[in-house]
Symmetry: C2
Subunit: 121 residues, 2 copies
DNA sequence: CAGTATCCTTTATGATACTG
DNA sequence: CAGTATCATAAAGGATACTG
């Protein structure tokens, strides 16, 4: 009786997109793929991210079971973030996207320029 | 002299994410992957999308050179949308993501429940 | 170092009415 | 059918100050 289509509001695809379709999530996952890393290291690596968004995005990823947070009781405290096994499976599917961006974004930019010259005044 | 890291504000990955990280783009690409389709067909298939967002998202995809728009001069007019070859290459990299969602989102939902029971309350 | 809290601006999205 | 225009709201993101 349920709608069989994968585009229903509650389908897994929609759920996933609602979670990762933001400015920083995919970028973070991709960075964490290189191994465990500390909060301020991430902050320095990702140009332009605010402390608030880094913290918020990491907490969401932790809640989703995609990222593990490990507190090391140094003084001051050190916190290390890493992918969980589940997070690794997701990151592996995201990786080709990064590669696509590197090889095809220039074509997209060209298409935009063409569109703006023709379809517009 | 440029920052060599792929997380710089202007890197292709950031550009791509800024473009597709919204509520509907990936979903639309995935649907268009099944073949050419008309405006209102898309609208009916994607539960919850507004006319405005469908129109707006399609135009952006067209501008990016990812989707082709074909006007068929019937009365009233028919408009058919389809992936361009460039759009097809992107959609192929996105496809595994849909599959990941179908097989792993239940694990994510479980993780969320666990997190909410422990890290909270 | 690794955050939280608060305020504020921008962007994204939605509802509704209208058109060739 | 396939849109556009306008108004309104919600959600995302950023700046800044503060804390164990």
């Amino acid at each position: 009786m349920d709608a069989p289509n994968p585009y229903a509001a509650t389908c897994p695809t929609r759920q996933l997109l609602d979670r990762i379709a933001d400015k920083w999530t995919v970028l973070l996952l991709s960075l964490l793929n290189d191994g465990p890393i500390r909060f301020n290291q991430l902050r320095r690596l990702i140009e332009g991210i605010s402390q608030k968004m880094l913290s918020q995005t990491l907490r969401k990823l932790e809640r989703d079971g995609l990222v593990a947070r490990k507190v090391i009781p140094t003084v001051p405290v050190t916190v290390e973030y890493s992918l969980t096994p589940l997070g690794e499976t997701l990151t592996r599917t995201i990786d080709p996207l990064i590669h696509w961006a590197e090889t095809h974004m220039s074509a997209v930019n060209d298409a935009q320029k063409l569109y703006d010259r023709t379809a517009r005044g």
